[in-house]
Structure formats: C-alpha cells, structure tokens
Amino acid sequence: MIPEIGHLALILALVMAGLLVFFGLLGAWLEKVTWLAVVPFAVAGQWIFVATGFGCLTYAFVVHDFSVAYVADNSNLQLPLLYRIAGVWGAHEGSLLLWILILATWTLAVSRLSGGLPDRFRARVLGVLGLIGFSFLSFLLSTSSPFLRRVPVPDGADLNPLLQDPALAIHPPMLYAGYVGTSVAFAFAVAAMLEGRLDASWARWTRPWTTIAWVFLTCGIALGSWWAYYVLGWGGWWFWDAVENASFMPWLASTALIHSLAVTEKRGLFKSWTLLLAVSAFSLSLLGTFLVRSGVVVSVHAFASDPSRGIFILALLGFFILGSLLLYAWRAPTLGSEGGFALVSRESFLLMNNALLLASAGVVLLGTLMPMFMDAFSLGKISVGPPFYNVAFLVPTLPLILLVGVGMHASWKQAHLQRVGMRLAVFFAVAAVLSVAALAVAYGSFSVMTLLGCALGLFIVVSSLSVPWKKIRHRETLSRSVLGMCIAHMGLGIFALGVTVAQSYKIEKDISLAPGESYLLAGYRFSFESLHDVTGANWDGVEAKMVISAADRRVAVLYPQKRVYRVQRNPMTQAGISVGPTRDLFVALGEQLGEERWSMRLQYKPFIRFIWIGALAMAIGGLISVTDRRYRRPAAKNPGLPGGLGVAHDN
C-alpha cells in the first residue's frame, strides 16, 4: 500500500510542477496577477508530494519491504538502519528521487526566502525551476520508478558494500545539493533574460544562492575524495575518473560564476558573460547527470545502464542547453554593460580568473568526452589517464593561483599595484624562502615544481591573511564578504600546499608480510603482529594488528580489515589509517598469498589532510560571505520599466 501511495504522490508532484510552469511562466508573460498567486502553492505542493514519495521509499527500506524491486535489489535483513536509509539513494532510481527532492527543496527555499524579489521575476524563476522539476519527474516516472513491485523475495540482495560507509551516506545528498543548486542560478539567469533586465540587484539576489550551491558542491566533492581515499582508492584522493570530473566541471564553472557575479554586482559589467556562465554551470551539471546515469563512461560510479534512460537525459540536456542558448542569443545583446575599467584593475583580474577557470574546465571536459567521441567515430577505444590531467590541468591552474594572490589587492576600476606590489613581492619572497627551508629540512630535496607549488600555496595564504590584518590594523570595518573571500582563498592556498607535498613526497609500497615480520618505510617500522577473525552486522572478515613505531617509540596501532559481505560475497578492504597533521600512515590488507603471508599496501602520505582542510576552508569562506549584511537587507524594488526592457543603473 505504502509504495502505491509513494507512486501516486510522485504523480501529484508532477502535476504540481506542471501547474508551477504554467502559472509561473505564463502568468508572468501575460501579466496575470491572480495567476501568480497560485505559484507559492504549487511550489509547496510539489515539495510536499516529492517528500511524501521519498518518505514512502525510505519507509519501504526501513521495514524491509522486499516486494518493491528497488528495495529487494539494494537492501537486506542484516543491513544496519543507517545504511538502509542511505540505501534509498544507493542506486539509480532512488538517487534520481533524491535529486528531485533536493530540487524541490531549493525551489521551496527560493519561494520562501525571496521576499524582496519583484513578483513577476520571482514567478519566472520558480517557473523555470518547475520546468526542471517537471522534466526530471517525468523522467523518473517514465523510465525509472523506484516503486515497481515484484514477486516478494524473502531477503534482499544487499547494498553495494562500497556504499556501506558513513561518509558515503552523506556524500550524495551533499553533492546533489550542489549539483542541483546550480539550477537556481540558471533559473535566475533565464528569468533575467525573459524579463530583459539584469541589474545590480539581480546580481545581489543571485549571489547568495550561487555561493550556497557552490559550498555544497565543494563539500560534496571533498567528501567524495575523502571516501575514495580510505575506501576505494587504496590511498589515492583523486582519480580523474569520468564521474569525479562530472562533478568537478560544474564546480569550476560555478567558481567562475561566483567571481563574475561579483563584477556584475559591484560594477554592472560582464552581464552577458555572467548569464553564459550560469547557463554553463547548469549545463555541466546536467551533463554530469547524463554521464553518471547513462552508462556511457567507464567508471566505478557507473550503474548497470539502460539505454532508454541515457536517451531521455540526452534529450533533456539538449532541450535545456539549446533553449537557454537560443534565449541568450536573442536577449543577451539587449543587456549591455556600461562603464569601463583599466587594464590593471580588479575587473581584469577577475576576467583572467574566469578565463583560466574555464580553460581548466575545458581541459577536464576534453579529457572526459574524448574517449566517448573516439569510440563513437570508431577511432579506437582509448582512455585518458591521470598523466594527461596532471600536466594539462596545471597549465591554467598555476597562473590562476598566482593571480589569486595578487588580484585580491587590486581595487576596482583602476588599480595602482605599485603601492601593494612591493609588499606582494616581499610576501612571495618570504613564501619562497620559507618553502625552500621547510622542504630542505623536512624532506632533504625538492624539485622546481614542488618548490613552485609550495611557494604559491604559502603566498596565497599570506596574501589572504594580510587583507583582514590590514583592515583590523587601520580600524576599518571588515565586511563578512571580504572575510569570507579571504578564508576561501586561504583554503585554496592550504589545498595547493597539501596537493604539492602529498604528491611529491608520498611513498607507496606493495609488500608481502607474515605475522611477526616488519617493514621499514619512510622512517616508520610497520610490524605485522597478528591476524584474527572479526564479524560485523552483515559481514565476516579478518583483521590484522599492525604496530607502527619510529625510533623505537610506538606511534600507532592500526587494524586494517578484509571484509566479506555475506550476501553479495564481495570482499572489501577497510584500510587502517593513522592520521596526523603532517602525515598519514596507511595500511591496506591485500590477499592471502599462501601459508601465513599476506599482501599489503603500505603508504606514507605527507600533509594529505591539508587537501580536505583546504576544501573545508573554502566552503567555510563561502558560508561566511553569504551572511554579509547586504544580502539580508530586503532588496529595494527597482522601479522597472513597464515593458520590463531596459537597463537599470546601479550606484
């Protein structure tokens, strides 16, 4: 009964989304005030019905309703409650439902928290969001309903063991919140184009939404990387896997968008560029969804695929990209930018930031789509490995990092860098000298690239800290958005430091070890003391006791496990990791090599935590900046021209 209610609720949600599109977009077009009054109800209705559907599926998981095919395929009587709930989004159908729930939640949030927006404009934004909701709900209902029944089985096939992990339980919702959040900026952009008006207050409304979506995306990607580090990757933190790339490209585009929006808000420039970025960020999110769901890419994330789904998403992708680009071609020329800026100014720096970010997104896109194109045109089956990205991605990224450190100090319109130039040069020199000293003392030797990475990372950290420091010393007010920017940029510096040191000085070694033996790696003695059996809720396994010591002092005791999940019979490696501020020590148990010997992978990962700490700092910076006062002040309603066409002037 409950699954049928869930299915019905989703159908009603589809109806609500349809009403939202109709009354929102058409009502705004025909200027029918009474029609616009329906919009908030349709938004609330859509959310309630989607949430009901989601609740019904969760209920089916919790009570082990194995007559529902999706539950039977992804759950099990022995599966702990946490993973039964996370199992809801453990495969295609449920994760799509989660996607829709998050979209409905964003739509509700926009409807509730945008009191300052003009009614027509808000109706258009919500109408566009409704259109996305409508498309995805019809996709879900027509090709991938999670509520299909099947002859009940006594026990389910269990959730993929790799997904049975706390980080992975929250990784998809986090990532989706970011992914789907790009649709809000997209809806704002489309509404502005429909309206034919884009001014500073538009940018001010759009910025917090974009930044929050970006914060979620940042956290989601970082969580995924962390999970891959200890579960999937045997110690790697990023694989340039097609699906990782699919989440990384919208991140790069959103980052560019955040910066371009700043210019649009403060200076009324880059308007059409900002619109294009908003469209690109959303298109890349849709492309990501397509890549993950259609099975066209070879990836650990790829689900067993169904061609009809791929075609449906491809059609959606085409519709939204083509539609918004056509609208853009038609309307963007009317949204001229006014005012100019000097060659050396914050505008220029932000423009370069955008160009470089898009270049890096282009590199990732090229590497991700290349194998598909080559295959489609029968030019051979290729794969593009990490070496490509490691080289090609650095080309735009290194100048970008340098420019971040400089650009923060440039003022709008016309900057006189001579004044700050001296100080920046000193910062850079200090960063370089510190890096040389630290690397020489800690690791003995270094390459040019390592030095460059460290120096640039430190440079941004120092440069970011100097902004609030100067303000505090001169007793100037430090706005939250400036503070947030500095923390986020500092995070980038920390991240760059982490990546550089971790990649340059990591040591990995596969060895064969028997109990009682030990192995010396990076000055640490890894002693294999014993091996015993362990049992979990739905798995059995063995656990090794590894004692790690340095200079005869015990540093850590690790218990790496090899689990076998009872239902799917898949072995799973649970690494033992000793976490430290300056290094991680990592032991993963391989397989029994005969007699008592086991294969093991030992790793020494210096400063790898900086990678995630840096990402976290970026996210925190983003959060702080959206609490800035000017976003909370209800935006003054601009006296719009009757036809809605025209360019409003700010300041």
Partner: protein, 146 residues
C-alpha cells in the same frame, strides 16, 4: 590608450593564453592516450609494443598462478578466442577473481605476455567494463585465426 583599445588588448591576451593552454592540452592528450586491445588483437599483433595500452577480458578459470608468499602473480585473460597472459606484481583489487571481467594497464612484453602496472576490476559485480562486454559480443568467427 583608449578604453576600447585596452579591452581589445585584454581580449587578445586572454585568447592567446587560451590557445596556448589548448595547445599544451592537446599535446599532453596525444602523449597520454592509452588504447584498448582485446586478446584477439594482441594475438594478431595489432597491439603496439613499448607503449602503454590496456588489455581486457575475462580471467580464465584456473589460470591464476602465484608462488606461495610472493607478490608476483600471473593469470590469463581471454575473449574466448585468444588468450593473453598478464603478469603483475602487487596487490590485486578486491573484485579480482577468476571468471571476472578485468582491464589491465601496462605494456606488452611479447606476443603473449602483458606486463601490467595496474589491474582494474569494477566494483559492481553485475557491471562489466563496456570494452570487455563488446569484445565478448563479437561473433566467434570474426578475426579468429587458428
């Protein structure tokens, strides 16, 4: 300089930068592509030596051989027409087992022996790498030489 001129310079600069980046990217791409070959192609000598390539197929039942206690492992990969022996030193992925589809990355040492530096087995047991699936679907007589 007029503002127009300045903006033009900026745009030209950015275009230059972007084209330079594209140049680097395409060069890096050409050097780092690795092609996929199935065991039949390897047996017929279509796969290059001394270059990183990928070879994939099913792990032949009963072919996994290892000296007791050694990290060195050898196994056969087949598309049911031809077989390639893969030699690998290191920890195998969790889902590696006989009868499972895998992809190995490495270099050809001879017509029959492939030295892998990485072995990939996918994480969903229902999931088969598309390359392997397609090569298994080829009709038995195609390209098969006795």
């Amino acid at each position: 300089m007029t503002p127009r001129r300045k903006r033009l310079m900026l745009v030209v600069g950015i275009l230059l930068g972007v084209s330079l980046a594209t140049l680097f990217a395409t060069r890096a791409l050409r050097e780092n592509l690795s092609y996929f070959y199935d065991p039949t192609q390897v047996a017929q000598g279509e796969a290059p030596r001394g270059r990183s390539i990928r070879v994939g197929g099913m792990v032949t039942k009963g072919s996994v051989k290892r000296e007791s206690g050694s990290l060195e492992v050898k196994f056969d990969v087949t598309d049911f027409r031809h077989t390639v022996t893969v030699s690998y030193r290191g920890v195998l992925p969790d889902l590696f087992r006989e009868g499972q589809g895998i992809i190995a990355h490495g270099q050809l040492a001879s017509d029959r022996v492939f030295v892998a530096d990485e072995v990939l087995a996918k994480h969903d047991e229902k999931y088969m790498p598309p390359e392997v699936k397609q090569s298994l679907k080829k009709p038995m007589n195609e390209g098969a030489t006795p």
